[in-house]
């Protein structure tokens, strides 16, 4: 059988492209915008995430931290040496309480000592000193850096001597901020930073001393310069958990729940936006190729009448599609790189971070592959439609059925045309596969893929139903409507007008855009709450029951205290039994047994601010029974769950408490430190110490410290304002980036939709010509088209906005973010779509109105 050679097919394909450069540029642009959005969003978000994670690492000053409660055994030392030999950097941080004194005051002061190796610590972030200088020049064997609180209490200044243990040290600098302040212990006493040699020299590290040891770990960067992967961190964590079973191993993402949540949500959202950009690009391609092939009907019919088989014709247009996809992909990748590079400049005023931009080959190749693949996938149905083009079209243009040929086509395709059904399934499977590969979030990948399958089918059905409904309405009201309205509505059923397809495409596009908007709005709103400026940034330790009233009054009188203080009661106790098993035999996970002897209990009538109940239910405010809510991670370590029984002993009282709830604090409030919370009645009569958290204007923390010291010298003040500001600024930056990228995705989506609408203009040309020939004024024609565009836009907007809300609700619920139906924005989306459809339709078609009919016909 004679075959059309690839050379001939390519020649015909290329010649067509060359002769209709303008029209093809539109198609290439649709592909390019989709690929650009994908490459730009993905590339920038990968780079930004990497920078963000580096900042998150600074909150721990490391990738991983192992909190040890005893010295490592020789085997464990050997294991740590092996880890170090593999390239992982390790540095110990020792924290202990000690007394410090000076010649100027008689009474010694309890201080929180932190011994570090200044050559290595911190692995991330910086210790801010005043006067500013590097830590390694400040800390040596006979010098220390201290918190300003110590200077206040001991009436000292920089340069004075401080006695710690048996040694005298020179105060070389003031510690303004330690990067890992939040992940260290909140022990009583102002901070004193000392070198490891200094600690040795002080004589404090005698056997049996209660020093807390943390090992900080830094995973080596890959040689390629790419960021450290989550997998590398997770692998090291698993290795350490095995090596040090009694240590608490946490990675940098777990130090601050707000930050962790912010990062997780950012990842999900950015993945969503990448996928949305992909689908929008694909929609643009599908509509453009469809419009293109519609215009080629005559040529296809001619070729078939000359004896061309469908396969031969498909070959020509398949080659054309590949060329278009490749051209669009290359242009898109170039645009995407430009977008990626422009983001930091555009965001410079909002975020003060230098985003290191790596040109990732994987992102480029992904963009190119996705561009070509989606072009091929989405042009399959119109390409397969070539088989149905009948050569009789040359002789007779009438379409036999008044049914929307697309819907009729769908029915025909499903019942008789296995290939088209196969193509549709292939598209969905292909998109789902791409979505799963591209998505950094399994949650988003799953929801998106399944949602796409369901939504596409429902959108088509809904569009067809709405059109059928409109047609029914029209058939009943026909002559009662003004003729231009009648004409405009009837245009929706113009033979050959794929209204259902355009509606589905528009509806899908609106749905994608609105989903991005709704989800990012809800997430950003929650992130703002978690990064609210009035969260506690100064903590008060060791407030006695007698002092609590006075403390409250003092805080109230301070102008620099800008929010109600949060006060946490703490009762010391120990765990005696867990579910009937005594404490010395209970099965624990990464939790040293002796810690069961020093447990802190708190009370609260309701779930405290900033605490989420993740399992079970909180008790009623008047509860008097012995019930307990346990912090989620603590519950995992102790192996307890809702329904378990824990026996606490405090003084000579035993409390057998039933676990009724598991809680997850946000890390931002005073109660975040509470691991076991009971009703007040259960702890009645037991000695209480209070901890407090207040928000203080960061510039006036010193004033508050002095006022508190004057009135309550035994209360320790821990200033974490700087550290919290780091977390807050990171979370705020996440919100800016999310909003900016969402806006970009939306903008790209709008352009793609506009090009889809514009692509339908060619069908109107002949109609305008005929109308003008019959004497219709431009105003009349304008009215008819406006009605057609407006109805298309309203219907697409309605379907799209409804489904957007549905999908947003599902996604947000699974991300544990509150969903609210936004009436204003939904209505805005609906009307905006109608406006966009009308505006675009007009921009694309207005030239036709002003020209003479014959001119247009000749060009055609």
């Amino acid at each position: 059988m004679a075959a059309l050679s690839y050379r001939s097919a390519a020649k015909i394909a290329a010649r067509e492209m060359h002769s209709s450069r303008g029209k093809f540029f539109f198609v290439i642009l649709s592909v390019a915008i989709g690929v650009a959005a994908l490459t730009g969003v993905r590339g920038f978000s990968t780079s930004f995430r990497s920078t963000l994670l580096d900042r998150a690492r600074s909150i721990m000053a490391a990738d991983l931290s192992a909190r040890m409660f005893q010295q490592p055994t020789p085997e464990q030392e050997k294991g740590l040496d092996e880890i170090a030999a593999s390239g992982v950097e390790i540095t110990p941080v020792t924290e202990l309480l000690s007394m410090a004194s000076s010649a100027k005051t008689l009474d010694p002061l309890l201080v929180s000592l932190k011994a570090v190796d200044p050559a290595k610590y911190p692995f991330y972030g910086e210790v801010e000193l005043s006067p500013a200088m590097p830590l390694k020049t400040v800390l040596n064997a006979d010098s220390v850096a201290v918190a300003d609180d110590l200077l206040v209490r001991l009436n000292l200044k920089v340069g004075d001597q401080l006695k710690i243990g048996t040694q005298l040290f020179r105060i070389a600098s003031v510690v303004v901020n330690e990067p890992d302040r939040l992940s260290g212990s909140f022990a009583a006493g102002p901070r004193v930073m000392i070198s490891r040699e200094g600690l040795e020299a002080s004589g404090l590290l005698a056997p049996g001393s209660r020093a807390g040891q943390r090992y900080l770990f830094k995973v080596p960067r890959p040689r390629s310069g790419a960021p450290i992967s989550d997998k590398a961190v997770a692998d090291l964590k698993a290795r350490l958990e095995k090596l040090l079973p009694e240590a608490q191993i946490i990675d940098y993402r777990e130090t601050n729940p707000a930050l962790t949540q912010g990062l997780d949500r950012a990842t999900s959202l950015l993945s969503l936006m990448s996928l949305v950009a992909l689908v929008l690009g694909a929609i643009g391609v599908a509509m453009a190729m469809r419009a293109h092939l519609q215009q080629r009907l005559d040529t296809i019919a001619i070729m078939k009448s000359l004896g061309a088989r469908s396969g031969q014709v498909i070959k020509i247009y398949l080659l054309q599609t590949l060329l278009l996809g490749a051209a669009g992909g290359v242009l898109g990748v170039a645009l995407g790189i430009g977008v990626q590079r422009s983001f930091p400049f555009l965001l410079a005023k909002l975020i003060h971070v230098d985003t290191e931009l790596h040109l990732q080959l994987s992102t480029v190749l992904t963009g190119l592959a996705v561009g070509i693949l989606t072009t091929l996938l989405f042009t399959l149905p119109p390409l397969l439609d070539i088989r149905g083009v009948r050569p009789i079209l040359i002789l007779r243009r009438a379409v036999e059925d008044n049914d929307d040929p697309f819907v009729t086509g769908i029915r025909r395709k499903i019942t008789k045309n296995v290939a088209q059904l196969g193509a549709a399934l292939l598209i969905l499977a292909g998109l789902a596969a791409i979505a799963t590969t591209l998505s950094d979030s399994v949650l988003v990948g799953q929801v998106f893929s399944l949602g796409l399958v369901g939504v596409l089918g429902v959108l088509l059905a809904a569009s067809a139903a709405v059109l059928a409904g409109l047609r029914f309405f029209l058939s009943k009201t026909r002559l009662h409507l003004p003729s231009s309205v009648r004409h405009g509505l009837a245009n929706l059923y113009r033979p050959g007008n794929p209204s259902a397809a355009l509606l589905a495409a528009l509806g899908m596009g609106v749905m994608q855009i609105m989903t991005v908007y709704l989800v990012q709005k809800a997430v950003v709103s929650e992130l703002h709450i978690s990064a609210a400026p009035n969260l506690p940034n100064v903590f008060l330790i060791d407030i006695t029951n007698d002092e609590i009233g006075g403390i409250r009054a003092l805080l109230k009188s301070q102008h620099s205290v800008t929010a109600e203080p949060e006060l946490l009661p703490v009762v010391s106790s120990r765990v005696v039994e867990i579910d009937g098993v005594s404490a010395d035999k209970a099965k624990l996970k990464n939790f040293p047994r002796r810690m069961l002897r020093t447990i802190s209990l708190s009370w609260s009538a309701a779930a405290p601010t900033g605490t989420n109940v993740v399992a079970g239910k909180w008790w009623a405010p008047d509860e008097k029974g012995a019930v307990v809510a346990v912090e989620q991670r603590q519950a995992q370590r102790l192996g307890v769950h809702v329904g378990s029984h824990i026996t606490f002993a405090a003084q000579d009282k035993q409390i057998v408490a039933t676990v009724v709830a598991l809680m997850k604090p946000d890390g931002q409030h005073a109660y975040s430190r509470a691991e076991f919370v009971l009703p007040q009645a259960a702890l009645a009569g037991l000695p209480v110490v209070w901890y407090g958290g207040v928000h203080v204007n960061p510039d006036h923390v010193g004033e508050l410290q002095r006022a508190l010291y004057a009135a309550f010298p035994t209360v320790t003040v821990i200033n974490v304002a700087q550290a919290l500001e780091t977390v807050r600024s990171v979370v705020i930056q996440i919100t800016y980036v999310i909003q900016f990228l969402a806006a970009f995705s939306i903008f790209a989506g709008v352009i793609i939709l506009a090009s889809s609408i514009a692509g339908t203009r060619y069908r109107r040309i002949r109609e305008v010509v005929v109308l003008k020939t019959l004497g219709a004024t431009r105003r009349r024609i304008a009215t008819v088209f406006s009605i057609e565009f407006a109805v298309l836009g309203l219907v697409a907007g309605l379907v799209g906005v409804l489904f957007a809300n549905l999908i947003a609700r599902v996604l947000l619920t699974r991300m544990t973010v509150a969903y609210h139906f936004e009436w204003g924005w939904s209505l805005g989306g609906l009307l905006g779509t109608a406006a966009l459809t009308m505006a675009t339709g007009w921009v694309a078609s207005h030239r036709i109105l002003g020209r003479k009919p014959l001119e247009v016909l000749r060009e055609e």
Binding site: S5, H18, T299, G307, A308, R309, S310, P391, D401
Partner: protein
């Protein structure tokens, strides 16, 4: 054996709830080498009949046999092969591919249907020269006049030496001079090659050149008569083989 056999041919189309019968049952045969003019007023079904003869459409009932093969219900790809090898078609509005040159348009059926061993390019060039377009081979349709485009279409119709040529108002869009020239070329082919020529026209002057006239009205044949004295060709024209 007749070259074309039409048996009980019907064609109806649905228009919403209505069914429109275009052809209501036609039966006739056309022997090899005959020149038949199919006539009738607008709406009589002439173009529909031609489309069915060419296998461009499927009848509602009945069958068409071309050179011994029943074509009406063949699968599309098989039909395409029959069209490519057995039928040359000349349309009223030329129907050239606008993005191909005159030479490439003529060559297209060869690229689609012929064995690659045949020298299609040489034959295409010869055909174009024979229709007087030897110096316009590299021109695109938009650069040619109507008459020139129709001559390219003629050359295209002949490239595979089809036994049957069907023409739908081939001179309908041409001025009298060009129309005469095109007719001349067609007639010459019919006489020298023995090609069976079926021509649809509403013009009785054109029909006067045919051996036989079939007249349609409202989808039925109302007259089928031989023309014992067909008119002479407008002027001498040569369409030689390459």
């Amino acid at each position: 054996m007749p070259m074309i056999i039409v048996e009980g041919l019907r064609k109806s189309i649905r228009n919403g709830a209505r069914t429109v019968d275009i052809l209501k049952g036609l039966d006739f045969t056309i022997p090899q080498g005959q020149f038949v003019a199919i006539m009738g007023a607008s709406g009589s079904g002439k173009s529909t009949l031609l489309g069915l003869l060419a296998g461009l459409d499927t009848p509602s009932a009945g069958n068409v046999h071309l050179n011994g093969t029943a074509i009406s219900y063949l699968p599309e790809d098989k039909l395409a092969q029959v069209r490519g090898k057995a039928i040359g078609f000349v349309f009223q509005s030329y129907q050239l591919i606008p993005t191909l040159t005159a030479l490439e348009n003529v060559l297209l059926p060869h690229e689609l249907n012929a064995d690659s061993r045949e020298n299609g390019l040489g034959r295409a060039r010869d055909l174009l020269r024979s229709v007087g377009l030897g110096d316009r081979m590299d021109h695109y349709p938009v650069q040619l006049s109507g008459g020139e485009q129709q001559r390219v279409a003629l050359a295209r119709a002949f490239i595979l030496r089809p036994p049957i040529v069907l023409a739908d108002e081939p001179t309908g869009n041409l001025d009298s001079t060009n129309g005469a020239h095109v007719l001349e070329l067609l007639l010459n082919l019919n006489r020298t090659e023995g090609t069976t020529l079926v021509l649809v026209t509403h013009d009785p002057v054109l029909a006067a050149y045919a051996n036989r006239r079939i007249v349609l009205r409202d989808g039925l044949i109302i007259a089928d008569e031989m023309n014992p004295n067909p008119a002479a060709a407008p002027r001498e024209a040569v369409l030689t083989e390459g």
